[in-house]
């Protein structure tokens, strides 16, 4: 994991915020992180729906997420390029890579220049999500076949949880798909 920005003096004051988000609203996440930094809370860690911040002086940071599950070759090339261009890596988790840049030092910086690049990023996330959900559904179906009695629990809890998970997953994939279409049609 890359260390947090060395130019920040550690104050030792940290906070953890839990936030559920989906691929299609990652831009709201990065806008929110920028807002946090303006209040002096700078991201030091990102995980599954969990952000950790450290208190420092307010900064005008621009945050951007990229989605890359696997790299053609060495991911070091990718990180070198981002760092050379002034972007500090903050976290990488389940294919999401979080970066930030000081917008006062690099006023016109953008991680992606063209809407098509953003659509391609969502496309990578979409493909991965579909694979994961198919795999999880297949595992659940196998579970039904092998341990049918588990699913006959009177509470209906297990089928309920699996059904709920599938419904939320499919809905989020559908929204992401429309987001990609929207970007591609307007660019």
């Amino acid at each position: 994991m890359p260390p947090s920005d060395p130019t920040l003096k550690p104050t030792g004051r940290t906070k953890t915020v839990w936030k559920i988000w989906f691929s299609y609203d990652e831009r709201q996440q990065t806008d929110w992180l920028t807002e946090q930094s303006r209040q002096g809370w700078h991201l030091i860690e990102g995980g599954l729906f969990r952000y950790r911040f450290e208190k420092g002086s307010p900064k005008n940071y621009l945050y951007r997420f990229d989605y890359r599950w696997k790299f053609r070759g060495n991911d070091q090339d990718y990180y070198d390029l981002c760092k050379d261009a002034g972007w500090t890596p903050i976290f990488c988790h389940r294919g999401w890579h979080g970066f930030r840049i000081d917008a006062d030092v690099h006023p016109n910086a953008e991680f992606f220049n063209y809407p098509d690049d953003v659509a391609a990023k969502y496309q990578r996330a979409l493909r991965r999500n579909v694979v994961l959900i198919v795999a999880i559904s297949a595992a659940a179906a196998t579970g039904v076949l092998l341990n049918g009695h588990l699913y006959n629990a009177p509470s209906g809890l297990i089928p309920g949880v699996i059904g709920g998970f599938l419904a939320v997953s499919l809905a989020s994939i559908w929204v992401l798909y429309w987001r990609i279409r929207q970007i591609r049609m307007s660019s």
Binding site: D66, G73, D77, D80, D84, A85, Y114, D117, A120
Partner: protein
């Protein structure tokens, strides 16, 4: 031919890679050529370099900046062919555009 027209960033990257450069070298060179109009973000450049490499228009090369492990690229003969074809296309556009503007200017001058 579906390879052209090249996007602006692909065209500039191919021109920049007339000499071997690493990623950040490409960003700086394109920025200089376009008077800072095109400042490629790392996400855009990384994707574009991979796409150009996959098409065989650029290939890995030792970047001359003396930087050790930074990976460099250079244009291939295929890349040069594509660049020339796209340049010919743009010259045609420029010639027609310029010709029509000149007729307007002559008409304005005659008034």
């Amino acid at each position: 031919m579906t390879d052209t027209p090249l996007t602006e960033q692909s065209f500039y990257i191919l021109v920049a890679l007339a000499q071997p450069l690493h990623g950040y070298g490409v960003i700086k060179k394109v920025e200089a050529m376009s008077n800072a109009r095109v400042v490629l973000g790392p996400g855009t450049l990384y994707g574009a370099l991979n796409a150009l490499k996959k098409k065989g228009w650029i290939q890995p090369a030792d970047a001359p900046q003396g930087d050790d492990r930074r990976k460099g690229y250079v244009i291939t003969p295929e890349g040069q062919t594509v660049l020339k074809a796209d340049l010919a296309r743009m010259e045609e556009l420029v010639a027609h555009g310029r010709a029509v503007i000149e007729t307007w200017e002559r008409a304005d001058a005659a008034e």
